[in-house]
């Protein structure tokens, strides 16, 4: 098309850009949701691992204390087991706090994501349709055939 129809070219390109935007943002939004779920799964796996370590540590500490109680003349040092239990408990709690924070933020994010999804699914196609009608009207008025 010539420079005389630069407005039609520009509007055609704008419409194509809107369509590309719609598909690309939909894909990006899906990936955003996937990333949230991936992190949730990752944190849950970490929490599970530290829960197991905590349980194991508690069992080892209890066994150590039993040994210590049984050997009163030669007390057993169980402080290493106690530290391990304490550390596992702190890390598990730290992960739990992150899980809560992610859940809270995900709830807030869901509102914005829902509005944006609605915009992509409803408003944006309307804008594209209106542009298409304008382009068709301009072409008809100038007797220009669509390219491609």
């Amino acid at each position: 098309m010539t420079a005389i129809h630069a407005d039609i070219d520009a509007l055609t390109e704008l419409r194509a850009a809107l369509t590309r935007f719609r598909y690309a943002q939909r894909e990006a939004a899906d990936r955003g949701g996937d990333a949230i779920e991936a992190t949730r799964a990752s944190l849950e796996a970490k929490a599970s691992r530290w829960r197991a370590r905590l349980e194991q540590g508690r069992a080892e500490l209890a066994a150590c204390r039993d040994r210590s109680a049984a050997e009163q003349d030669a007390p057993v040092d169980c402080s290493g087991y106690a530290r391990a239990v304490s550390e596992a408990g702190e890390r598990l709690e730290h992960i739990r706090l992150w899980q809560q924070r992610i859940d809270q933020q995900a709830i807030e994010f869901a509102g914005a994501a829902s509005r944006f999804k609605n915009l992509l699914e409803t408003d944006l196609p309307r804008a594209e349709e209106q542009l298409a009608a304008i382009i068709t009207s301009l072409r008809a008025a100038r007797r220009v055939q669509p390219s491609g």
């Binding site: 704008l14 194509a16 935007f21 955003g32 944190l43 530290w50 804008a127 209106q130």
Partner: protein
């Protein structure tokens, strides 16, 4: 999905890039399109689309930042 797995590119950054491309297309169209229909399109379609996209992408960026921080902060 395996623990710690992260998709190769952050969606918020791709989303920002797509919005910039769309804004470029709009800026290129504006000089050729300045009638009442253009103004109505700008008011009813373009401005809400751009503003809502920016809001959403800011929320998405904050969410992705939080996910990255959570992963890093829980690596023991």
């Amino acid at each position: 999905m395996p623990e710690g797995y992260r998709l190769p590119a952050r969606p918020d950054r791709d989303g920002d890039q797509q919005l910039r491309l769309l804004e470029d297309a709009w800026e290129k169209a504006v000089p050729y399109w300045q009638d009442d229909v253009a103004r109505q399109f700008g008011t009813h379609h373009w401005t809400p689309l751009r503003d809502e996209s920016r809001l959403y992408l800011e929320s998405l960026r904050a969410m992705m930042d939080l996910l990255d921080t959570a992963e890093r902060d829980t690596e023991y």
